[in-house]
């Protein structure tokens, strides 16, 4: 009995925003199954009363002064955008077009 079903792999892919093609989902199922079976050994260790460790080296996080500093110019920020429009990143339409309003399309092409 497998612990991860193909349906779960598909749900995870959706949560991860990853489109898997063809045999990819089944291969992924096998790989996740193997790794999770190995990882399960961690459950045998009793960690009750142990606080989670998020930052290994306990040095104080220094604060910087709250001053405005220069940032990158907009052209530099946009230079790698696959699609841009003037000073903006271009995305597909998110809000459906309503009747009678002729909004500019963000580009589902």
């Amino acid at each position: 009995m497998s612990r991860i079903t193909l349906k779960e792999v598909e749900e995870l892919a959706m949560l991860s925003r990853l489109q898997l093609e063809g045999e990819e989902a089944e291969r992924m199922r096998g790989a996740l199954e193997a790794v999770l079976s190995y990882i399960d050994q961690i459950q045998e260790l009793d960690t009750s009363g142990v606080a989670p460790l998020t930052h290994a080296v306990g040095f104080a996080c220094p604060l910087r002064s709250d001053e405005t500093a220069p940032s990158l110019p907009i052209e530099a920020v946009l230079q790698n955008a696959p699609r841009k429009d003037d000073r903006f990143f271009e995305v597909p339409r998110i809000v459906p077009k309503s009747d009678g309003r002729n909004e500019k399309s963000g580009g589902a092409r």
Binding site: V9, L12, A13, M14, L15, S16, R17, L18, Q19, L20, E21, E24, R27, M28, A31, L32, A34, V35, L36, Y38, I39, Q41, I42, Q43, L45, T47, V50, A51, P52, L53, T54, H55, A56, V57, F59, C61, P62, R64, L72, A76, V77, Q79, N80, A81, P82, R83, F89, E90, V91, P92, R93, I94, A108, R109
Partner: protein, 499 residues
């Protein structure tokens, strides 16, 4: 080409190169031309470079030469030709992290570490191949082809900084930059017969380093000798306002530490690191190295790291959770690959990422999503963080009995290209000796300590307490002074030049 340039390149020593350039005995430009020739001749076989920045290297070396000629002050790495793992953002130079999703990405800014090295006079020759998003330990996960081991080109160089290790071993740069999340500097250093250092977490800035697992990512250097790696680290380390986890403490004198000797130091040996699965030749070489360091004046004491067996599981839970979060930024909108002919925003995300990421990043994103999922968080991610504390406490307890811990770096020597690629779990398990110090954020290095009968390099790992870089270098320096392993070179890339 002058004999002096050829000899400097064959020896690849940072101080000798910088002294010759500063003294006007060779021009930085001549060194660059020599390395570019070597890359043209050998890199077709090895695949170390993703992008040779010949014009940029010539321009940078010319400006070092101009500074020397004008009598201006030049840095400690003046004219030293280096290779940069393609995970460091380099302004105006394509940076891909060996992923199709970042093909064509040209960063608008420079990472702190590469900026500091340039300030110190180092001359970048270009960007170096790696496992995609630093995920892997064989360099076979690069979207642009594998790197091969200079000692046997049918074998892997290790990973994820395999290109950086192989390029130093084959003399395709004098020193190089890598990153280490679960062993990605130390393991390829061991498999390629060079020295690699990961400093204390926060000692070297992560700003401008493409993120894999933020609480574990450590930039660090590779060198032919421990002193070369120490000199690189000296210019890289130190506080950076742009990295909130950067440590403010002063930086030690790393080159001097290499000559500090081991008198009075206690070297701890954890038996948990000599367990089943360790190749007998590696065990013998590491135990012999421990004897050598004892003969050099160190005291050897047994220590115990009882939670070692849970380290790989904890590492893969934490690192995949962080990776799933960090890699969420690749959405096809601001930079990187964008799918075409899409209908909705959701489809744009899923198709851009599905087309852009290779199989290893996909596996780790999926695993990270799984362990962070509502209902599973406490059993996996929360559990792993608790185990991380236990592992860190193991090291703290061991360091009450010793100053440095000595272990093998990798349980296996370089394996054949293709041999393990179909079994991701088997490769994860080979990280068993490097992930502990990663989880605990401890400084650690790998240096050559022998060769197998098949002629493959073997490395040992030294681990110190937080900010114990100088202690680490004292032990590594004393070991190197007592041995000749670091002087061996892969003959096919040096021929008669071998020194």
């Amino acid at each position: 080409m002058s004999a002096q340039v050829e000899s400097l390149v064959a020896e690849g020593q940072v101080e000798a190169i910088a002294a010759a350039v500063k003294g006007g005995k060779v021009r930085a430009r001549e060194l660059v031309e020599c390395y570019l020739d070597r890359i043209a001749k050998h890199d077709g076989t090895l695949g170390c470079y993703l992008h040779v920045d010949a014009d940029g290297a010539r321009r940078r070396s010319d400006s070092v030469d101009a500074a020397v000629a004008s009598g201006a002050t030049v840095g400690p790495l003046a004219g030293v030709p280096i290779g940069i793992k393609d995970i460091f953002c380099t302004e105006g130079v394509e940076t891909t992290c060996a992923s199709k999703i970042l093909k064509g990405f040209v960063p608008p800014y420079e990472s702190t570490v590469t900026a500091r090295l340039a300030q110190a006079g180092a001359v970048s020759l270009g960007k170096i191949n790696m496992d995609e998003f630093a995920m892997g330990s064989s360099n076979e996960n690069s979207a642009f082809g594998p790197v091969r081991n200079p000692w046997d080109t049918t074998r892997v160089p290790g990973g994820s900084s395999g290109g950086s290790a192989a390029a130093v071993a084959a003399g395709l740069c004098a020193t190089s930059l890598g990153t280490d999340t679960g062993g990605s500097i130390r393991q390829p250093a061991a498999l390629c017969g060079v020295t690699g250092i990961k400093a204390t977490y926060g000692r070297v800035s992560r700003w401008g380093v493409i993120a894999f697992a933020s609480s574990l990512d450590h930039p660090g250097p590779f060198g032919r000798t421990i002193r070369d790696a120490a000199l690189m680290l000296q210019s890289m380390a130190g506080h950076d306002d742009n990295d909130a986890t950067s440590i403010a403490a002063p930086v030690g004198n790393y080159a001097a530490a290499c000559a500090g000797g081991v008198k009075g130091l206690r070297v701890g040996v954890p038996e948990e690191y000599f367990a089943t699965g360790l190749e007998p030749e590696i065990e013998a070489a590491v135990r012999a190295a421990i004897d050598t360091i004892r003969a050099a004046g160190a005291e050897v004491v047994p220590v115990s790291l009882p939670h070692t067996r849970y380290a790989v599981a904890a590492y893969y839970l934490i690192s995949t959770a962080e990776a799933a979060s960090n890699l969420a930024r690749y959405d096809g909108i601001r930079y990187g690959h964008r799918a075409t002919n899409i209908g909705s925003l959701e489809e744009l995300y899923a198709r851009s990422r599905g087309e852009g990421f290779g199989s290893e990043p996909k596996r780790r994103i999926m695993l990270g999503t799984y362990v962070l999922r509502s209902g599973y968080y406490d059993a996996y991610y929360g559990k792993a963080q608790r185990v991380r504390r236990k592992i860190t406490e193991d090291f703290a307890a061991a360091f009450s009995k010793c100053d440095v811990i000595a272990t093998p770096t990798s349980p296996i020597s370089a394996f054949k290209v293709g041999e393990k690629i179909s079994d991701p779990l088997a490769l994860y398990l080979a990280d068993v000796y490097t992930v502990g110090p990663s989880l605990a954020g401890l400084p650690a290095l790998s240096q050559p300590c022998g060769f197998s009968k098949a002629g493959l390099p073997i490395g040992w790992q030294l681990i110190a307490p937080p900010l114990g870089e100088e202690t680490l270098l004292r032990v590594g320096g004393a070991y190197e002074a007592a041995t000749e392993w670091h002087k061996r070179l892969p003959v096919s890339f040096f021929g008669k030049e071998v020194v």
